[in-house]
Subunit: 404 residues, 2 copies
Amino acid sequence: MKLISGGVCAAKGFQAAGIHCGIRHNRSKKDLALIVSETEASAAAVYTTNQVKGAPLTVTKAHLADGKARAVICNSGNANTCNADGIAIAEGMAELAAQALGLKAEDVLVASTGVIGQPLSLEPIRQGIGPLAAALSTDGSGDACEAIMTTDTRRKEAAVEFELGGKVCRLGGIAKGSGMIHPNMATMLVFLTTDAAISPAMLQKALSGDVQSSFNMISIDGDTSTNDMVTVLANGLAGNPEITREGEDFAAFMKALNTVTVHLCRCIAGDGEGATKLLECSVTGAKDEKNAKIAAKSVICSNLTKAAMFGADANWGRVLCALGYSGAELDVHKVGVRFKSAAGEIEVCRDGAGVPFSEEKAKEILLQSEIGILVSLGDGDAAATAWGCDLTYDYVKINGDYRT
Amino acid sequence: MKLISGGVCAAKGFQAAGIHCGIRHNRSKKDLALIVSETEASAAAVYTTNQVKGAPLTVTKAHLADGKARAVICNSGNANTCNADGIAIAEGMAELAAQALGLKAEDVLVASTGVIGQPLSLEPIRQGIGPLAAALSTDGSGDACEAIMTTDTRRKEAAVEFELGGKVCRLGGIAKGSGMIHPNMATMLVFLTTDAAISPAMLQKALSGDVQSSFNMISIDGDTSTNDMVTVLANGLAGNPEITREGEDFAAFMKALNTVTVHLCRCIAGDGEGATKLLECSVTGAKDEKNAKIAAKSVICSNLTKAAMFGADANWGRVLCALGYSGAELDVHKVGVRFKSAAGEIEVCRDGAGVPFSEEKAKEILLQSEIGILVSLGDGDAAATAWGCDLTYDYVKINGDYRT
């Protein structure tokens, strides 16, 4: 398997585009994206577990009832959530995209991201859909990615090439993250595409399984969004024998999927609102995977640990504290903690108690932009990794006045 | 019932003191507190549910086995947690206090607060215990309160006078809060005293019941501390018939206890690390109390809502989002939200959707120092209140470099 460029257009038969249509006031910011498969594709999705769900999710779920789709339309600048006419607007978006592409509305998935509770007008989308469809290209991944960004500061794209049944397959995608990121059995906006042939049921199985160890292991701020969604389209143009059950091919597909999703996870966590650092907490030696995940995620979610990492302060007591209240089964007296980065690695806690360490060296390690928090529980063989970011002045600044 | 002054010394027969003994480097900051009852008292406590527990909690629990105690010793500047010799040090603190007061070590409760994972020396306590005992007075509540502060900016004291069986009783206490505050079945440091006569079993029942709607309904930053503890001493000097079962007297005692604890809750929440505002989320119309509590606490814990309140931004979509992922049973289409403060009250959401409102008026309301977030669920008769604070630049500043 190798990493390749092309993002959501890396796989055969997919085109994408992104433009500014006028939903956002700032004309330099794209706000409408379109992703299209040239043939019918198996499709699957996972959604936020927030009881307050964006209207686009309801529409997407209905359009995915047959496990097939051709296109995804997504706007930024407005979440189309908690609006009385939200469903009609989301249906309208699918309808407009379908008309422009010569498809049925049922074959179009819909997503929105932005402010909650402000009416979304169809007008700018009606104006923009023609130019957007005209701009579709196999080089359009970057533009589409920009058009789904909110407070993101960087594009988030990834793609891989792998083999199934002797055929070269590709799988790639784009993501937006930044704030209100604490996926729970679902995730933020991610659109994936592949030319691998795989049945809708197996595609859903692959995606639902994958998010448990990818997007569900990120947290930026502990707030589970109302509009989280990951979709994947598989058009089969690679020509591999269609995957219809578990086995070698399914495992290879899962591996490709996980490579792309983990890459996007790291992109999302490292570009969290206001973040200066990507935090990666790896828990090893857990009793089982469930406990490993609970422990890793708790460390990543701790505001105090996040603030300490911002300050490059090796305050490992906060890591122990977060492990202690996580709910994971663990023996405190066996816990070890190390910090790691491009500048080296340092042990700060062994058997649940502090060990003497050089504060200077620790500072040097924690001043890097990617920090590993390595936790060993000494209680078994299971492991898990979670991703997050530091808590900074800019997070407060961005969210103290997001709407204005 | 009336609010009175005197804090932890308001009740008959209690003295307190606080001094600087040298655990903290800053000589202007007190770091050692002592609270003493002139007669044996019924005693009860609740503790953090964090699996990583401070050594003082283990010692206090052992000393409370008989439901009786005479004194509490508490230091700030060091949590005595995750230290190999922690238990011996905590026992040593009880021993030193007992010697100075002519008591048995088993009658002394021990608490510590401060940095986790740094060895605590008994030396400054050994030096300070004599002067501390000599300073004991019925006016000592304020000094004791100062001596248990970490990043708190204000003393937190409260007391009430009430009647039991025709006798005037008093109940009061002191608290420290500020950071790592997200009590769960337990709480931060709070020391309560009363001269009411009540059996150890009923005292424990009162305290365990009370914290469910008082301290367990606060969150500053979502991090449940390793050293949380609330203790209450009841010496019976008021002369009321001892409370040994539920009934009118127990209800009156519970009401007095709750008045003091809710007052301390508001003190703790409003003085959260970096806070500029006290947030009080009142949920009404819930199916049952459990769901009301879950919903109220979720709003108070939301980083995004907290940051919006800092910015005086009426971003009610974040309140809806927090309700949605709370896990509480609710019908989104019935939810209403209003903001309230000394500057007035404004409706921002009805039936799960936005209503037109004056942004100017909303700003004026949210610029006050105490903000009510009023949530109506329209789904029943149950209600709950939770307390928190805004998320500010100063929270990040304080926690980006707490140890240095």
